[in-house]
Amino acid sequence: MKDAAASELPTDKELVPASTKVARATRKTNRDVNAGDRIFRGVTTFFAGLVVVTLAAVAIQLVMTAWPSLSKFGFHFLYTRDWNPVEDEFGALPFLYGTVVSSTLALCIAVPIALGIAIFLTELAPPWMRSPVSFLVELLAAVPSVVYGLWGIFVLAPWLRDTVEPGISKVLGFIPMFRVPESGSTGLGMFTAGLILSIMILPTISSIAREVLKATPLPLREGALALGSTRWEVVRYVILPYARSGIVGAIILGLGRALGETMAVTMVIGNSPNISASLFAPSYTMASIIANEFTEATGKIHLAALAEIGLLLFVVTFILNVLARLLVWRVAAGRRYKTAGGRT
């Protein structure tokens, strides 16, 4: 520690006017300590600022890279379907369609299952089951995307092609959506992509939904139980209404993940820019076209068009994330307040 002895150093003397001799010792000690602290504060502020700078830089660079395409195509980009690198004509509609439909499909499959798991783990499961089951569900999130893709190509797609799709087609084939296309199915297509996406976003939705469900105040549950509710009635009439907006937030975060998911989808969706009525036909997504063409894009406009798709993904996921966090935060904030000072 710096003390009076240190303040006798000649270099320090020059910094302090002789008239303030009495106040010198304390003030200088403070200043010395503050120097370290000021540097520390400055350094940490700098690195915290890097997060903000990175986010801003991503946005700015995307706009700059996409600019040639933005200014050339304008809103046409969103609803035209040509994708012709040779003639520099680009329209992203098939990719928007593929992304929206595959993500919607994923949500339709994943949401009920994820909510079931969340309710099971917070409310219904016996305590000894909770930790292993939640570990397994979290493990789903740990498996890399590209491994899901590999599994999708060689295990899931053949199974869907040979067993599931003919089955669905036989029963629901009168709806164009569930009809196997005339050219036959390879197993690689919108349905496979949606299914794989649903597996990948399941842990996201269920873990956030769990957090939100847990935030329901204990007295509310106890009150409902004391009135003679069964455990399901507690969930149905007390917990779900309380947690509703947070659950919507969890679903939106899942959607955000599904929209941007690249590798697994690219590997199983068939990569063909068609807009087909059938779910079993191959399709293409925004993230996939970037993954497939970015390194080969030589034309300036081509690169810009791909960057514009990236920019669209960025903007949409940005909005979804802000929205979701506001919703989740509203529910979880109550909990943080309740347990402040207690163990979490």
Partner: protein, 280 residues
């Protein structure tokens, strides 16, 4: 209202459905792990870890370069991402409460949700284009950006769990704030932060999309961190969409190694937490 038996029945049915949901989620996990192990174990051998790929048509060869490449890229990502994230997190926890800290937290949360392929485009534009070279460095930066928000937020949350009494105790002994933070607060939270870092590493280890146009790939050894570098995830992608059976076999082997690597980091993270829990 329905009779008690009816209500009880509904309760049972819903519980059953929820159990089904949990089982449904575990089936794909089981299937993925089963096939990765079954198909991969046959193709993993000594050559896989020590040899380079053979030309198309010849069987055998390995992915030594991709394993080294993945570790190199991860190493670079950690060197950049971990210190940045921890220092940023320290700011949020120790000097937070300002308007600026709100913006930082918000940015970190939003950055978590940005699709990894978009980060790939960003790094391509800021590093690959100026240097005119795909490189391990660019790949490392991309992964560092992906792990940054996780590390910042974990550090932030864990530092805030450290009781104020510890901070006050240190300060009362006359220690400057930075020493108190580094040697008392940070040390107390260290196991938790290490867990967060491990999980962040595990998450980015399997990332493929941002590496496609940053580290790119390489058929042989990389010439250093300034040149194109192969990595396991990209290798799995390229091999699995190829038409060659032997490459498919290699892709499964690479998937097994990658999953093992990711699970290893996950387990390590869990063990760190377990060590800490009795002390709490």
């Amino acid at each position: 209202m329905a009779s008690y038996t009816q209500r009880k029945l509904v309760d049972r049915i819903v519980t059953g459905l929820c159990i089904c949901a949990a089982l449904l989620a575990i089936i794909p996990l089981g299937s993925v792990l089963f096939y990765v192990t079954k198909q991969g174990i046959g193709a993993v051998n000594w050559d896989f870890f020590t040899k380079l790929p053979k030309p198309v048509g010849e069987t055998g060869g390995g992915m030594a370069h991709a394993i080294v490449g993945t570790l190199t890229i991860l190493g670079i990502a950690c060197l950049i991402g971990v210190p940045t994230g921890i220092l940023g997190g320290i700011y949020l926890a120790e000097f937070g409460g300002t308007r600026f800290s709100k913006i930082v937290r918000f940015s970190a949360d939003v950055l978590t949700g940005v699709p990894s392929i978009v980060i790939g485009i960003f790094v391509y534009v800021i590093i690959v284009v100026p240097t005119k070279q795909f490189s391990a460095m660019a790949g490392g930066v991309a992964l560092a950006i992906l792990m940054l928000p996780t590390v910042v937020r974990t550090t932030d949350e864990l530092l805030r769990l450290v009781p104020d009494a510890l901070r006050e105790g240190a300060l009362a002994l006359g220690v400057p704030k930075w020493r108190a933070t580094v040697s008392i607060v940070l040390r107390t939270a260290a196991p938790g932060i290490a867990t967060g870092v491990m999980l962040a590493v595990a998450r980015v280890a399997g990332e493929t999309a941002p590496l496609l146009f940053t580290a790119f790939g390489n058929l042989g050894w990389s010439d250093g961190i300034g040149s194109p570098t192969a990595s396991l995830p990209v290798q799995i992608f390229n091999y699995s969409v190829s038409p060659y059976a032997d490459w498919h076999r290699q892709a499964w082997a690479a998937a097994l190694v990658l999953v093992a690597l990711v699970l290893f980091f996950n387990l390590l993270a869990r063990l760190l937490v377990r060590d800490r829990s009795p002390a709490r």
